[in-house]
């Protein structure tokens, strides 16, 4: 196995999030309508970081929720049960624009599950998708509205987004 390649370092991750935040502002005129929903394990942390940047730009608090999608996956009986995390959506999504935040967009199946999971909480006015990495290989008609970095990958490769690991800098790596 060869050494993993660093795709984004800590500073580049921060720049990507700042750019995504400005694109969200450009796309959504009213900040008061926007809420973020991060998908664990990494998307929720990205959503909190994004929420902080957006709150500074809009000068108003942007609510951030955690949306676990494990119970809505389409492959539950095809593999060992996934780790589930409590979903915390401390706001009403009805009539709001919900920006789903995930670390890596790959097959699109997580995004489909997330949209289903979101439906249980109300009827958003719009759903948008923000991802740090788009690695291609879609299996469903899903595309991201906001992308930190497009990374062409081989299907066997793995993209890991590592945030807040003690003693390690934040980074995104590609494993062969």
């Amino acid at each position: 196995m060869s050494e993993p390649t660093v795709i984004l370092n800590a500073a580049a991750i921060q720049r990507a999030l700042t750019r995504i935040a400005h694109e969200i502002v450009e796309r959504n005129e009213s900040g008061a309508e926007v809420v973020l929903a991060g998908i664990p394990l990494v998307g929720d942390e990205l959503a909190f970081r994004l929420g902080k940047i957006l709150s500074e730009i809009w000068k108003l608090p942007v609510p951030v929720g955690v949306l676990d999608v494990s119970m809505h996956r389409d492959d539950l009986s095809h593999r060992a049960a996934p780790q589930v995390h409590p979903t915390v959506m401390p706001f009403d999504v009805t009539g709001r624009t919900v920006v789903l935040v995930d670390d890596v967009l790959f097959t699109g199946r997580t995004t489909r599950a997330a949209m289903d999971a979101l439906n249980d909480f109300g009827r958003p006015k719009k759903i948008q998708l923000a991802v740090l990495i788009d690695r291609g290989h879609r299996e469903l008609p899903v595309r991201a509205d906001f992308v930190g970095k497009n990374v062409p990958t081989a299907i066997t490769e793995k993209v890991r987004v590592r945030l807040d690991i003690p003693g390690q800098p934040d980074e995104v790596v590609l494993e062969k």
């Binding site: 809505h72 095809h78 049960a81 589930v84 909480f121 793995k158 993209v159 987004v161």
Partner: protein, 314 residues
């Protein structure tokens, strides 16, 4: 966290990691029960059979609701309305259910080991909902979940189980779960119902109730199971209540943050004073709520296939 088991037959054979996996998973399912829409599609298209060869209300309803909230189809099968009365064996009944493509069979049976037997003769996942005086694994898991919610961790806690230990599958499953998780377990009750042999599996045994509850963080009360006792094991209910019943005077001598649990059904005025059952320190109804979350978690975990746990690709 990890889970690769097909059946939930007992706590004795679970690892600490597996127990913790169920408890962690149940946290997420508890949140589902608190939403406006209390249903997720995780078990869509799966068939669950409640095979209750012994009467039960609470556990059966809890499993039924758990399956429904996961979008599974569930059928109830009870002993008095079934072909058991017509002489069919357990194996034949189960194989008939299998012929209907049941994915899960939840079994309660008066014979210890009945779920283990079923797991060897049918392809469905088997969940033990109580087998004789042997085990009642989901009860122990929901009790551990409830304790963890209140005390954060179980390791190091003093937990007293008070009552009919000898005939209690709840006690056995709880002893396994709590000792594996690092609690110090004390058993108390009449000497005929709490034999010293339990010391061999790491419990402290005492027949003095004040001694048993003085340092307890959790006092777990059990009902006297008249239906399982072949002969009278103590002089009378009145004497049991006088010697072992939890009343206000005894409660006053416990730690102020000691909490009271009971798997139900409770016998007010026998093992527990009515006032205590309804007091702030009683977790009895929370146990019922948590039971639903834990059973959803168990069904969800058992539904998993073989392969790796990791979500493909990232």
């Amino acid at each position: 966290m990890s889970w690769n088991k097909k059946h939930l037959l007992d706590i004795e054979s679970l690892t600490v990691d597996e127990i913790v996996t169920v408890l962690d998973t149940a946290r997420a399912f508890k949140a589902v029960g608190e939403r406006a829409i209390k249903k997720v599609p995780a078990l869509r298209g799966k068939t669950v059979v409640n095979l209750f060869i012994e009467p039960s209300t609470r556990t059966r309803i809890s499993f039924e609701l758990a399956a429904q909230r996961l979008t599974a189809d569930i059928v109830n099968f009870s002993a008095d309305a079934s072909s058991f009365k017509k002489g069919e064996t357990l194996k034949d009944t189960a194989r008939n259910l299998e012929a209907l493509n049941a994915d899960f069979i939840i079994i309660r049976h008066s014979a210890s080991g009945a779920p283990h037997f079923l797991s060897r003769v049918v392809k469905a996942s088997i969940i033990n909902a109580g087998d004789g005086a042997h085990e009642h694994p989901t009860q122990a898991l929901l009790d551990a979940f409830t304790i963890r919610e209140h005390k954060e961790k179980i390791a190091g806690l003093n937990i007293t189980i008070l009552g009919d230990i000898l005939y209690s599958r709840v006690a056995r499953s709880n002893i396994w779960a709590l000792t594996k998780l690092g609690a110090k377990v004390t058993l108390c009750g009449p000497s005929t119902l709490v034999p010293k042999t339990f010391e061999q599996i790491g419990c402290r045994v005492t027949h003095n109730v004040d001694d048993a509850i003085r340092d307890a963080d959790i006092i777990h009360l059990l009902r006297i199971q008249h239906e399982r006792q072949r002969k009278t094991m103590f002089p009378g209910i009145g004497e049991y209540t006088a010697l072992f019943g939890l009343n206000m005077a005894r409660l006053a001598k416990t730690k102020p943050d000691a909490l009271i649990m009971h798997p139900g059904p409770i016998n007010r005025g026998v093992e527990i004073d009515s006032e205590i059952a309804d007091c702030e320190r009683s977790l009895i109804l929370e146990q019922v709520t948590n039971g639903l979350a834990v059973r959803m978690a168990v069904l969800f975990l058992l539904n998993g296939g073989k392969g790796p746990q990791e979500v493909a690709g990232n």
